[in-house]
Every structure is written in C-alpha cells, then in structure tokens.
Symmetry: C2
Subunit: 453 residues, 2 copies
Amino acid sequence: MTDILEKSQARQRLRSLSEALDSGALKQVARILNGGLSPSDIAHLLESSPPRQRVLLWKLVDKQLEGEVLQYMSDDIRADFLSEFNAQELANLLEDFESDDLADLLQQLPDTVIQEVLDTMDEQDRQRVEEVLSYPEDTAGGLMNTDTVTVRPDISIDVVLRYLRRHRTLPPMTDSLIVVSRRDEFIGVLPITRMLVSNPAATVREVMDTDIEPIPVSLSDTKVATLFERYDLISAPVVDENNRLLGRITIDDVVDVIREDADHSLMSMAGLDEDEDTFAPVLKTTRRRAVWLGVNVFTAFTSASVIGMFEETIQQVVALAVLMPIVASMGGIAGSQTLTLMIRGMAVGQVSNASVRWLLNREFLATALNGVLFALVVSAATMVWFGDKTIGLVIALALVINLTVASVVGTLLPLTLKRLKIDPALAGGVILLTTTDVVGFLSFLGLATYFYA
Amino acid sequence: MTDILEKSQARQRLRSLSEALDSGALKQVARILNGGLSPSDIAHLLESSPPRQRVLLWKLVDKQLEGEVLQYMSDDIRADFLSEFNAQELANLLEDFESDDLADLLQQLPDTVIQEVLDTMDEQDRQRVEEVLSYPEDTAGGLMNTDTVTVRPDISIDVVLRYLRRHRTLPPMTDSLIVVSRRDEFIGVLPITRMLVSNPAATVREVMDTDIEPIPVSLSDTKVATLFERYDLISAPVVDENNRLLGRITIDDVVDVIREDADHSLMSMAGLDEDEDTFAPVLKTTRRRAVWLGVNVFTAFTSASVIGMFEETIQQVVALAVLMPIVASMGGIAGSQTLTLMIRGMAVGQVSNASVRWLLNREFLATALNGVLFALVVSAATMVWFGDKTIGLVIALALVINLTVASVVGTLLPLTLKRLKIDPALAGGVILLTTTDVVGFLSFLGLATYFYA
C-alpha cells in the first residue's frame, strides 16, 4: 500500500515498467507486476497505460489474478479484454466474482455468450446471477449481492456467535447480520458491533435494530447512494415488494455510483462519456468526438446566420463586429454559472418544484445586478476605445438583455430537459450557449441597426 | 428512511412544510420536523430551503438535535448558523461531535472563539481536538478520529471478546480493531469478521492482518480517498512518522472527500466553489459571480482587440464577421473536450509524465482528423452560402489551425498549471477559451487579409 502512496513512486514504477517494456525485458516486468501489486493496483496501472503497453501488460498478468483484476477495471476497458475469451475461459475467470459484479460484466457481452457462460456454471451460481441479471443495472437490484448472512429473531446472541464460527469467512463488508422471518421476510438488522457488546444470553430480537428500512429492489442507484451518504451506511438489505429479502448492497459499490454520478455531470458537459477511457485509441476517440463537434457545427451556423441578417449594419459600423463576441461570451459565462449550479443542485436533490421560483428570482436579480454593473464597465471601455457614445449605449443594453435571458434559461432549461427525459448535463450547455450567442448577436446588432438607422 | 425514498414524498413534505410556514402554523411545522426526521434529513431539508424558510426551520429544530444536524451540513451553511452561538453554547452543542468533525467546524470560527470553546471542554476532550486541529484539514490528520479500539497481539480472541463486552457501544464504523505494541506502535489490524470465525483460543497475533499498511498522517485527503476506493476499505489506521497510532479514518468521511473532489472540477470550471450554497442570498451570489465575470470581461476584450486589428479586412468582406465565431467556437469545443478529459484523468491519477507524450500525440491526431473532416464540411457550406471559393479555403485552413492548437493547449495546459500550483479546473477553461478565440480570430482574419489583399 505504501508503494503507491507517493505519486512519485507510482510514477517511477510506471516509468521503470515502461522502460522494461521498451527494452523487451518482459520477465522483469512480469516480476514487478505480479510481485506485491494488488489486483486493484494492476487494474489502475492498466487503465493508466496507452493501448500498446496495456495489451503487453495484460499478457504478463498472472492467469490466477486475471479475474480479480477485471473486477476493478472500468466498463469500457474491461469490454476490450473480455472479447478475447471464449465462454469456458470466461466461466473459469468469473468464478470468484460477486454476483452483482458478474451480472454487470455479463451485460457487456453478446447474448449468445451470456447464455454459454451461464450454461457452464453450477445450478446455484446460475440462479444467483440470473436473479441479479433480471434487474436493470442502475437500480438497487443491479447493485446488490446475494451473499447475505441471515439469522432468526428468536435465537440467542451466543447461538449466533457459534453459528458464525462455523463459517470459514464472512462476506466482505459484513457490518451486520440480517434478521429474517421463517418466510425470508425482512425484520431488522443485527449490527455486529452491537452484538459484540451485548449479553450473550440476550435474543437477537432484543438486540436488533428495526429502525432501518430496507431498500426496495427497484430504487434507482442514485437514490441508493443518497441513502448511504445520508445515513452513513456500510451495507443495507434489499427487499422485493413483499418485503422478502433479496440481497444486500455494500458501500464499495455505492462509492462507484457516487464517483460515476459526479463524473457524469463534468464529462457530459463536454460531450464525453463518464466511462471514457483516458487512453482510448485515436480512431475511437475521433469518431466519438466528431458527433459532438457535428452538433456544434450546426449551432455555430445558427448563430452565424443571425449575424448574417445584419451584414449591412456591420458594413456601416465595423466596430460592431469587433465588439459582438463580448456580448455573446459574457452571456455564456453568466448562463453557464446558473446552469452548473442548477445541475449540481438537481444531482444532490436540493432543487424541488417548491424552490424553483425562489431560485429563478435569485438568479434573475443577481444576474441583472451584475448585468448593470458590467454594462457600465464595458460601455465605458467601449466609448473610450471607439470614441462613440451610441455604441456604448447599444452594448450596455445588449449586455443587460443577454445576461438576464441567460439567467432565466440557465435556471429553467435543466428542469425542462429533465421533465422531457433529456440529460441536462449533456444537452444543457449546448442549448444554453446557442441561446446566449443568438440573443447576444440579435440584441446587440438589432439595437445597433435601430440606433444607427 | 422510506419517507424520503420517493422524491414525490420528499417534495410533498417540503411543500406542506412551506405551506405551513407561509400560513404561520409553526407548531405543525415543528411537529413534522422533529417527529421522525433524522438529523441528516433535517440538514438536507435546511440545505434545500431558501434563506427565509431556512432560518425559520432552524429555529424550530429541537435544541437537542441541533448539534447532530450541524454535523451533516455543508461548511458554508453551517458557518452562518454557528455565528449565532456564544462560546458556552457552542461547547454544549459540540459535545457529541467526533473529533474530526469538531476540528473541521472549529476551523470555521474566529481564533478567539476557538480558544474560548476549547477552554470550556474537559482536559481529555480538549487534547483530542487540539491534536486533530494541529493537522491541515485536507490531510489524513484532518480527516481522522481518535476513537480507536486497540488490542495487544499476545492476548487471545476470547479475551478480546470479553474486553469488548465491557464497552457500552463501539465507535461507529468499527470494522476492525487495531493491534498495537506496548508503545502504541502500529502492528496490524484485527478485522471483526475474521475474529468472529476464528477459534477463540487463538491469539490476536495469529488472526490479525499485517498486510495493511497504515496511512501516514500527512497524506493528502485525495490520496486517502484513492486508497479507500482502491482497497475497498471501511476504516484505516493513521500513524505518525514513528509508526505510532494516532487515530483512524472512516469511509463516511472519505465519501465526503470523494463527493467534494468530484464536484470541485465541475463547479470550478464555471468559476463556482464546490461548497457553494445553492440557496445563497442575492448579494452574496452577485459578489462571488462578479469576480468571475470580471475575469471574463478582460479576456473578452483581449479577443475583441484581435478582431480590431482587422477592421479594414472586415469592412471589405463582411462575410468574415459572420463566419468568424464559427472558427472560434469549434476550437473552443474541441479544446474543452481535451481539457475535461485531462482534468478528469489527472483527478483520478491516471495521467503521469510517462503518458503525456502518448496523450499529446493521440489528442493531436484525433483533433487534426476531425479538423480536416469539419474543415471540409464547413468550407463546403460556406462556399454555398456566400458563393466565394476564397472564403471557403480560408475558413478550412483556420479551422485546422485552431483545432490542432486547441488539442495541444488542452493537453499541456492543465499539467503546466498544476506544476505552477494553479488549479487547472478553475483557470484551465478561461485560458483555453481565450486561446481558441484569439487563435481562431487571428488565423481566420489573418489568412483572409492575406488572400484578399
């Protein structure tokens, strides 16, 4: 663990690995790779390597570690490696996987391969995996493991302790046992730390915690994450609509959801996928980005056509061409701030219909105030630059108009998009900036045409 | 817990609360608020409320819950409420706080108040808090609690179990006991789940895990988070430079770090703070945003002055004014994609000096390919629109130039800024977009001046 604590050391290792790779000292690389590095370290190393090195490194990974290393990889990269295996190899590889990870992974494979892999598994394992596969990946059902340790309410703590001792190990992240009825209905949880400080003669019923509400299997993964964050949970039971225990969700999988949700907003606003492989090869990258650039060519021509309406005015007063990007960009900046604040607020569940009016008011007032302030500053600078009072007046008015429009659009757009089931983080920025460009050029050049006519 | 599972219910509660507030039915509000809502729910409700309602709600919160509710609030909002208390009230309020939360909170107060609060605490508590206060907030020391349960290696599991039973409760998130020497030096950890499946006659030494490396007290919180994510930790011991145990870090505090780090990139790119209160009042918001708009006025005038150099050319060919924003914005889009990918890659520790050259190559190639593709598309559209072959040639060349410059700047800028200890997420976007505007206008108008001369 200390080995990777210091970045410089990790870098040094990566550099010595890459030198060893370059010089073809593959045995040396394999020794570094399989000696002392944990599977998650190896996965991180693979994710931090360009494609050619990545393939080489993967070939050097100990066969026995492959399954575990795959568990720690991001979806995009894992899919590349998985495509190399046949069904039997996959089944062997996936033996150690927890059912939720296994289901996630199988969902990336073609349907025929999934069936083949399932056919090679034993009955019990297959049932478990098929259960998890039956729930969408982004719900509590898709996140849960089926490796619960359950107890009945009427036995004593002492009996529970003896029962546990019959296990060779307990599932990872077991912070509590789940108390269920004879018919597997959820009753409560028995936190292990509480059990350890209890009288061994007490019954589970006396010690257990019944305040905990189990998680419905269809709850979205984002809401599961909110519950874990809000109640500081390590694990939580998952039940079906009849309160029957199906499995449990653990914090390690929830942390991945939190990380992905948070990355999602950042990456989407630049038209990227949160799973985006930092080291994706040229052609894959080019193709994905071309889509985004294509969308933006379209919006750029829309703004340009607005300017095109005012060619005569610009010919008359060329200073307008010099100044018009200022109006557009100030609107874009102000609107992006509002939009980002709204997207973050919606992501953490702070924005409700009840508070939208207040937010709209606040954004409108704050942006209008800044609009007036910067209208004065920019207008003064413009008058000094071009020695023309009219142009100062026109830019001041246009700035106030564009900034206030930006604040309204920035507030209402993400909510509207969400209602239309369009991702605000992906589409919000493009629509907002097109709006502030169009409104900026239209108001500035339109007012100029009026005043100079 | 189920109460807040469904958004509609949470919204309904918020709406009924806000109606009750409006109608002045404060008793009813207090009943809803203090009956059944957990402290974290109340904190979330306060964070999701506009200022006027927030102050009213806070007054209605049960005095006994205030301390706990404060623990779950974000820094910015908490600071507002804390300013209302005197030192003695604060000391009473803060009694239940864990030492790391308490230290975080005290750091928000004026130095004189901190001393007053510390003076009212008993000797043991004060020492604990002073210990944590002595470490920077964003290090392992600032994150840790001092509530460790330690055992010696030479005693038996049975003795440990009896020792634990003497406790009334164990600290939250206790998934393992920490094994220390007589001089408090870290030796290993004893996972509780492993202890439960072990022979009670075995010694701690036989059962404990010594593979775990303790976290150095000065490690940055981001690196602590990486360790927790990579090794699926629930808690981890913290040691000083002499391997002496100082405390432990728990996953709940690490999740906050992960959330804040992830939010940081998103919010900074819009010039916002990750702690930004969604419901900050008008004047506070206006002031903060004015700074960002001010920076952008400056950069907007820089771009404008570039256009100003070509007034004569524009007067001659007005179509240039119509088309120039296309060149600038396409460069901005391409550059933002590269920049965002780099910032994310750096945040998760995937980008090292060893891989920069590969990334630069890939970004250059991918963007150049897209540059050529879109140069053809845009140039064809332009020639059709204006019926002028020269302008099609000029815009094609300018696009290729601006996109390739954008890819190089987008790749190298965040690394350079980091080396200069400037936050890439905050400054990166502004510098990049100024560059793509300047290069876009300069190349497009410069080439036009050459070709039309």
